[in-house]
């Protein structure tokens, strides 16, 4: 169990002189759901295509189960891909689509028939064998694309934004489907998306990427609660990122007000970035809070109210709360110590990207 199933070592890739991946290292353990998350152009899809064998890395190695597969073509790799726009074969029936990989491997006919039945059942499309691809909805095509991949019993399933083309309701349903599938099949999923909510819902491990570098890797809770830099904090959910000064261990100064926190080891009087999630801010009466301010915006969001509170320094705090405070009301801001996340200030934008990558 200790050895990773997939190991990317020092992967570098550029297209037409533009660096897309720079010295990327990534290990994926067996039977985990790993999500590569980032904005478009961050290199996540390229990483997936390198694992799938559709791109060759400029430098570096792809290790699969202890073997170097860097130069192995896709048809010789023990993993299968679900493509962004499904890439079903329009000239074949559903059954023929699912049977494609098994026929190539010359599996016996009864085995193939059983597998088709099993796979269609697994994706809740029993009886669709003889339908044509064009008669299916987007969501159904997506399920067929998954069925077509998993009948080959890959050890890893690669999914490239598979839910991107579906509408919201369907997307949420499919998220649960995918989690169920992963648990039933007991194989490794590597999933690419730009949707942070999707990543938080489904993953065991999230790999946040930007500009060809891995920014942070960890469990969803870890990524959400303890972002290592401003990019991750900003990309995963909404947050207030404010400049602060670390007065000493467990005490930070924000806009002249002192906040107790739980972070240590930043030094004395050191400038830092402070991340506070909007739902972690408690609004209290002005004299009870650490800073006083006035409510400037109020929107009802269903689950909670979204408010903006302006403090004297001019910063507008984003606050989510089930309690409502009308516009113009004076309030105090209180944050519990363990809800404050301290990050080192990046010396430059470049360092911000590299710093995490060791």
């Amino acid at each position: 169990m200790g050895q990773p199933l997939i190991d990317l070592r020092n992967i570098t890739k550029s297209f037409d002189g533009t660096m897309v991946l720079d010295d990327l290292n990534l290990s994926v353990k067996e039977n985990t759901f790993v999500t590569l998350l980032g904005p478009s152009g961050c290199g996540k899809t390229t990483t997936l295509r390198i694992i799938g064998g559709f791109e060759r890395p400029g430098k570096g190695q792809v290790i699969f189960d202890g073997q170097d597969i860097t130069n192995l073509p896709p048809n010789k790799r023990q993993l299968n891909t679900v493509f962004q726009k499904y890439a079903l074969f329009n000239h074949m029936s559903i059954a023929e689509n699912i049977a494609f990989g098994l026929k190539i491997k010359n599996k016996p006919k009864p085995y193939i028939q059983d597998k088709i039945k099993y796979a269609l059942k697994l994706v809740n499309l029993d009886g669709f064998e003889n339908r044509s691809v064009s008669s299916l909805s987007g969501g159904q095509q997506q399920r067929i694309a998954i069925a077509r991949a998993i009948v080959n019993e890959p050890r890893v399933l690669l999914l490239d934004e598979p839910l991107g083309a579906l509408d919201l309701k369907l997307r949420q349903d499919m998220q649960y489907e995918l989690i169920r599938l992963k648990n039933e099949l007991g194989i490794t999923f590597i999933y690419v998306t730009h949707d942070q909510e999707e990543a938080l819902t489904m993953s065991d491990t999230i790999v946040v990427m930007n500009q060809g570098y891995i920014q942070q890797m960890g469990s969803p809770e870890n990524i959400y609660n303890e972002p290592e830099n401003a990019f991750v904090a900003d990309f995963i959910g909404e947050s207030n990122i404010v400049p602060g000064i670390m007065l000493r261990d467990e005490l930070v100064d924000i806009f002249g007000a002192k906040f107790a926190c739980v972070d240590k080891g930043f030094g004395i009087n050191k400038p830092v970035d402070v991340v506070i999630r909007p739902e972690d801010i408690d609004l209290v009466s002005p004299d009870q809070g650490s800073i006083a301010g006035v409510v400037t915006h109020l929107i009802f969001k269903g689950v909670h109210y979204e408010m903006e509170v302006m403090t004297p320094d001019g910063f507008e705090w984003l606050v989510h709360s089930t309690d409502m405070f009308p516009v113009g009301q004076n309030v105090g801001i209180h944050v519990d110590p363990f809800d404050i996340q301290i990050m080192n200030k990046p010396a430059s934008e470049d360092e911000e990207a590299v710093g995490i990558n060791e």
Binding site: P74, N75, T81, Q84, K85, A87, F89, H91, I104
Partner: protein, 270 residues
């Protein structure tokens, strides 16, 4: 304003210059000079001279269509694999010769193929025996392949370019090697282009009289030559029309093929 009225001039034009003229060919084809009904013009295809010309036409056009397909498919595949950006310029290079007058290009082949022409000149400097190239069926096939090759390349290329790269990637991902990708994915998906290309080469090859005239000499008669001579030299328009009707049977067959395999018009050349 009703937009449909805009088709008025077009409809009148097409009725006047497509429908009525075709009806006239039918009318001439089934009548004799005096205007009375006869099937003799059509039946005359069975006379030895006409049957031989039709048979030779079918044979030569079949061979040149097959050759065009064999040459064009790999070419279209290579163009596809080189991507669109570079592809589009190369594609232009391949259709550029079509801008040259087709009679002159065919005449230039005469110069190349002649008894003491360029090819035999090269052969004799290499001390190889000279070849009898001009005025043979082989020369006609060469002329056909030369003139109609782009009509095969373009529809196949257009259909291949429309195939999503990820469909090919998916097949590779599921274990197919390059050959299996070709047989199971690319060929079946490119059928509309292939069918369109076949008809676009076969029909003009079957009915040509110019290529056979320029490269086949006066001894080789194709069905196109027979019909042309009936209209220009023999002046038996009824006989010429009757033979044209026979030709149109083959054209109708190829139109039906297109309708069957290229329903969405994917395989158009332009």
């Amino acid at each position: 304003m009703n937009k449909k009225l805009l088709s008025g001039p077009y409809l009148m034009w097409m009725i006047g210059f497509i429908i009525i003229p075709l009806a006239l060919i039918v009318l001439y084809g089934v009548t004799d000079r005096s205007g009375s009904f006869t099937l003799a013009n059509i039946i005359s295809i069975t006379t030895e001279e006409h049957a031989k010309a039709l048979w030779l036409s079918l044979l030569l056009s079949f061979v040149s269509t097959a050759l065009c397909l064999i040459l064009a498919y790999p070419l279209a595949m290579i163009l596809r694999s080189r991507g669109i950006g570079q592809g589009s310029f190369i594609v232009f290079i391949f259709i550029l010769p079509m801008w040259m007058n087709f009679l002159l290009r065919t005449l230039a082949w005469q110069t190349l193929l002649e008894r003491n022409g360029v090819i035999n000149g090269v052969l004799s400097t290499l001390r190889l025996p000279s070849l009898n190239l001009i005025n043979t069926p082989g020369a006609i096939i060469l002329g056909m392949v030369y003139n109609f090759l782009p009509f095969m390349v373009l529809p196949i290329y257009n259909v291949l370019m429309k195939i999503d790269d990820n469909v090919v990637n998916a097949a590779r991902d599921l274990g197919a090697n390059s050959f299996q990708v070709l047989i199971r994915i690319l060929l079946p998906l490119s059928i509309p282009g292939v069918v369109s290309g076949i008809t676009m080469v076969f029909v003009p090859a079957l009915t040509t009289f110019v290529i056979s005239n320029l490269l086949g000499g006066s001894k080789i008669l194709l069905i196109g030559n027979v019909i042309e001579q009936e209209f220009t030299k023999g002046s038996n328009w009824n006989l010429g029309s009757g033979l044209s009707l026979v030709l149109m049977v083959f054209i109708l067959i190829s139109m039906a093929l297109i309708a069957k395999y290229d329903k969405n018009g994917e395989g158009t050349a332009f």
